[in-house]
Amino acid sequence: MRIRKELNKIPGFEVANHRIDSWWWLVAAVVGIVALLAALEPDPYWRIIRFVSDGLLVTIGVTVIAFILTLVLGLLTALGRLSKNGVVRWITTIYVEIARGVPLLVQLLFWYFAFPSIIQGFGELIHFEPFEHYLANPFAMAILGLTFCYAAYMSEIYRAGIQSVPKGQNEAARSLGMTRNQAMRYVILPQAFRTILPPVGNEFISLLKDSSLVSVVSVADITRRGREFMAASFLPVETWLMIALIYLIMTLISARVVAWIERKTQTEER
């Protein structure tokens, strides 16, 4: 951040710096291609867009909800791994290793197909009616699966961010009488958040893309809707071209927003 401040003193650099974000033109270009295709060839392109549009809302919903939960669970896991309590540290470390060691697709299949059966079996064992008739909600299980996996990666990002704050910051806070938790909340975390913003933004983009995997566990996201359209229309090239372009628009916009937030927080201080 200090380097950026120094660079900004160079005449013309800020202009050049600003130009980085003319990457918005790429977003505009992709949107333009989609609009052009839809206008020039409404059949099939406009038809595809209309068909998958409800799936688009599902994709955005799954991604945003899973991301918010990931931010919370990731932070709790990171704090657990940095805890003084050995048991808490042990449990959170095991969790991270499992969640990172099993492929995301396998995890999603587990939560959707295996987890409900386990709950049902457990319900029969203890004769607990609601458990015996437990049925998986695809949407909820998909969010659970994504969150379970992504929170483990997120916790490592938080942990690196927290550990990147110099030790003297904690000492200064503690010497003023702050408790461990107060020092974490008012001094360490606010500084860690700034450091981890770029990797956290990347996680959001990865999550958006990986959310396409939920299409295999009965969630009617944009990928699943694309498969349905292709099955009915026998137009694989047009269908997957359009789906790919729609994903690209979403990820490109996300990348711009992340860059914007990053710049904003860096110019606020110093």
Partner: protein, 247 residues
Amino acid sequence: MTTLAPTPIIQIENLHKHFGETAAVNGVSLNVNPGEVVLIIGPSGSGKSTLLRCINRLEDFQSGSVIVDDIPLTTAENINAIRTEVGMVFQSFNLFPHLTVLENVTIAQKVVRKRSPEEANEIGRALLAKVGIPEKENGYPGQLSGGQQQRVAIARALAMNPKIMLFDEPTSALDPEMIQEVLDVMLQLAKEGMTMVVVSHEMGFARAAADRAVLMDDGLIVEEAVPDVLFSHPTQDRTKEFLSKIL
């Protein structure tokens, strides 16, 4: 003839602190009376900073006892109680870079002392004026010079109304022309009767403000005396050798 000896506000008794195999503090006993200014000098690695950091328990220790203002450093509650009474100033300032200058001085007042924002701001502004930085309250630490940052750090510690101030080489990281502005603030504090323990080699400050100078080496106190006496007529060879290097 009876002179009533004041109860020491800091009582350190046979303190031992080692990092693994290396002993940092190797059996130190030191009492500091209320209002006293004690300067600790010594070569690097002599344990002087470690001793200072044991007073507010930033460092754990293996044996011995530290009692501050009649509170023994034992339980977590006691340690936090002591930390609210003991201000600390660090060599590298350790200001909070994400907070403004005023917020640096008010955050602990609000969070620890539970003061209202208005009250905390009022106290904070008064202290910033006292250390000579009233006009920078909305700036960030990164925009200040080292000397200004250290003065803000002193104000931040004073905002908790400490009974004791610890200074860990407060001027060692400063450019020469900024040292005096920090020492001036410390001199004023000493005049006002603040109890201070200072790890520093600033002889001018020692002569002007310190009641006692302590020389440490190898985790032990080698010699202690009034600064003028210690600097001019040291009795120990180790003291003479050390002084010849720094004077």
